[in-house]
Symmetry: C2
Subunit: 357 residues, 2 copies
C-alpha cells in the first residue's frame, strides 16, 4: 500500500469536529484505494498559543515539513483577538505559509446545482459559476519590507507596509496559473492595479510575456476594482483568475461568497514541492464550536484537494467529491446551507452519511 | 443672486454628452433658486493629452483652483491606454485629486426602488441598500514613496509601492466619516487589514480613539476580505463605511455594482475647503460615445452632490434628485437600465424629461 504521512492541524473553534469527519472519510477512502495514512496531530493558532505561548511552535513547523501533506481545519477566535499581533493565531498561519514556501493558493468558487439558492445572487447570474482564483501567497504586501509603525520628524506615528514583487515571484505564480487554466477552461484573467501601481505594472508585463509560452490559454487583464464589480455583475465570465496576495485575499473571498455557501469551499496552498497545505475557506466559527452544528463538507473537500494536488490520487479525490454530491442529493444539510424541504443534520450525522455514500 | 464659478471637465468618450445635460439642468435650477453659475470649461484626460500632450495641463489645475466647484464627467479610453503611465488620462485625475487636496471621496451606493431589478442580487437582499463609502483619496499606496521598478542585486526587476498613513491623515478622513455617519444612520464600519498590515493597525487604533468624540455613532471594524464578502452576502448591514484609498477603490466599486446600475451613481471628492470635485462613478464608455445613448443621470446627480456638499444649496440638490426620481417614475430609461415595459430614451431625451420634471 502507498503510505502517506499527514499532519493534522485541527486548530480552534469547530476545527476539531470537522477534522474528525475528514479523518474518518480518509480512512474509508484509504481502505478502498489501498492507501495508508499515518496521521500526526500538531498545534497551530489559538490552540498552540494556549499550550505553548506561540501560534506556530517550532515543533509544528518541523512536523509539517516532515510530512507529505498538511490538513488544516480553522484557527482563531475572539479569545486571542486582543493579543499583540506577533502572538495572534493568524500570524501562525502566515508563518506556516512562509515556512513551507506555499506561494500558490488555489481557491475554487463553484456553484453546486443543489445549493444554487443559497446564493444572494439571482439564479441566472450564478448558474454555472466555476472560478478558480490562483492567489500568490508568500509575497506582496503581506511580507514586504520595510514594514512597521514609525515616528516621523514631526513626532507623529506613520504606519508603513511595502507591496513588492520580483520578476521571478511573478513568473512562478504565473506558471501555476497558466497550468491551472490549461486544465480548466483555458481562460486566464490576471488582476492588478497597473494604472496606479508600479508593482502591478511589472506584474502585468511579466504575465503578458509568460503568456507566449501558453498559446492555448487566452489571457486577459483586469483592474482589481473592475474585477470586484464584474464578479458581482457577471461571474460566469471568469474561468481562472491570477492575482497578488492582497488582491487575491479580497477577490477570492468575494468569489467564495457568490456561492452563498462558504461552508462548502476548500482550498489548497502549494509550494515548489510537497507538503502542501489544505484547508477550508471558512473560519473557526467559535459561536457554534462543540455543538455538532458545523458543516464538515469544506474540510472533507479539502482532503479531496489534498489527494488530488498533493498525493496525486485523483481517483480517490473524485470518490470523495462524488460522496459529497450524493449526500447533498439526499437532501441532508447542516444549518448553514439548510433550506425548506431539506433534512437538518449535525456534523457527525453528515459524516456518517458521507461514509455510507 | 448667489454667484458660483464652476469648472467643467467634460473629458472623454460620453463625457461631453452627459456634461451638456448636467449644465442644462443646472441652468434651470439656477433660475428657480436664484443662483448664477459661471461655467468655465477646461481640459483633463485624453482630451487634454490630445490638445496639449499632458493629461493635466497646469492651466486646468489653475482654473480648477480658481473656482467654487469642479464638475467632471469621465476620462480615458482605449486610445490612450498604451501611453507611458505618466501620460495616461488616469494620471491626470490622480494629479487633480492631489493638486486640490481632495482627501475625502464620498461614494454613495443606493438602491432606487424603480431600478431594484437591475441588480444581479436578489430583490430581498438589496432592498433598502443605502451605503456611503468614505474613501481616503490622497494617501495610502496611491501616493506612497518609495515607488517604482528597481533592479535587485541579482539583476532582476522588482516592483515596489508603499502603503503608508500618518495619524493625521487617518484622523482627517476619520472625522469626515464620523460626521457623515452622524447625518445618516449613525453606524460607521471601518475597514482595514489590521490582522496583517501595520498600517492598518495604526488606522484601526486612530479610528477607535477618534470614536470617543462621536459617542452617537456606533463604530465597528471589519477586515477588507470579510467586507467584500459581507457586501455580497448582506449589504443592508452597512450604513457608512470608511476605508483607505486602495480598499476604498475596490469596495466602493463592489458596493456600486450591487445596485446593478452604475450609470446612476454620483460621487464627491472633498478637501479641507472648496473647490470639491464631483463626478459620476461610471467610466467614459468610448464604445457608445457620440451616439446619444449615454445615461446622463449619474452626471446630473453629481451636480446635485455639488450643490449639497460644495455650494451648501441642499434645497436645490433635493430638487434635482426629485426630478431624477420623477423621470424614473415616468418609466423613461436609457439602454443601460432598460427593462421590459419601460420607454427607451436617448441621453438628450432624458435631459429634456428632467427639465420638464
Ligand atoms: C487570516 C488571514 C491572515 C488570512 C489572509 O489574509 O491571508 C485569511 O484571510 C486567508 O485568506 O487565508
Ligand atoms: C482611474 C483610477 C485611477 C481611479 C482610482 O483607482 O482611484 C478610479 O478607479 C476611481 O475609483 O476613481
Amino acid at each position: 500500500a502507498q503510505q502517506y504521512r499527514i499532519t493534522l492541524l485541527s486548530g480552534d473553534g469547530i476545527g476539531p469536529e470537522i477534522m474528525a469527519i475528514a479523518v474518518q472519510v480518509l480512512k474509508v477512502v484509504g481502505e478502498k484505494f489501498d492507501l495508508t495514512f499515518e496521521f500526526q496531530a500538531a498545534l497551530l493558532g489559538g490552540a498552540a498559543i494556549d499550550a505553548t505561548g506561540e501560534p506556530l511552535p517550532a515543533e509544528t513547523l518541523a512536523q509539517c515539513k516532515n510530512s507529505d501533506a498538511v490538513l488544516l481545519a480553522a484557527i482563531g477566535g475572539y479569545k486571542w483577538d486582543t493579543l499583540p499581533r506577533h502572538l495572534r493565531p493568524e500570524t501562525g498561519l502566515l508563518g506556516l505559509r512562509a515556512g513551507l514556501g506555499l506561494f500558490a493558493n488555489l481557491r475554487p468558487a463553484t456553484i453546486l446545482p443543489q445549493l444554487i439558492d443559497a446564493s444572494s445572487l439571482k439564479r441566472e447570474i450564478v448558474e454555472g459559476v466555476d472560478i478558480m482564483v490562483v492567489r500568490e501567497l508568500t509575497g506582496g504586501i503581506y511580507f514586504g519590507q520595510p514594514r512597521g509603525i514609525f515616528t516621523t520628524e514631526t513626532g507623529e506615528k506613520r504606519g508603513v507596509n511595502t507591496m513588492a514583487y520580483t520578476e521571478s515571484e511573478i513568473e512562478r505564480i504565473g506558471r501555476v496559473a497558466f497550468e491551472t487554466a490549461q486544465k480548466r477552461g483555458k481562460k486566464l484573467c490576471s488582476v492588478d492595479k497597473s494604472n496606479v501601481l508600479e508593482v502591478s505594472q511589472l506584474w502585468r508585463d511579466r504575465i503578458t510575456t509568460l503568456s507566449a509560452e501558453y498559446p492555448d490559454v487566452e489571457l486577459s487583464h483586469m483592474y482589481v476594482d473592475a474585477a470586484a464589480m464584474q464578479l458581482v455583475r457577471q461571474p460566469t465570465q471568469f474561468d481562472t483568475i491570477v492575482t497578488s496576495n492582497l488582491f487575491g485575499d479580497i477577490l477570492s473571498d468575494a468569489a467564495a461568497m457568490l456561492t452563498g455557501s462558504i461552508g462548502m469551499l476548500p482550498s489548497a496552498s502549494l509550494g515548489a514541492s510537497n507538503p502542501g497545505l489544505y484547508e477550508p475557506v471558512h473560519g473557526s466559527a467559535p459561536d457554534i464550536a462543540g455543538q455538532d452544528k458545523a458543516n464538515p463538507l469544506a474540510q472533507v473537500l479539502s482532503a479531496a484537494m489534498m489527494l488530488r494536488y498533493g498525493l496525486n490520487q485523483p481517483t480517490a479525490a473524485d470518490y470523495i467529491e462524488q460522496a459529497v454530491l450524493t449526500v447533498l442529493d439526499q437532501d441532508y444539510r447542516t444549518g448553514d446551507i439548510m433550506s425548506e424541504g431539506k433534512t437538518l443534520f449535525g456534523c457527525q450525522a453528515i459524516g456518517d452519511a458521507l461514509i455510507k455514500a
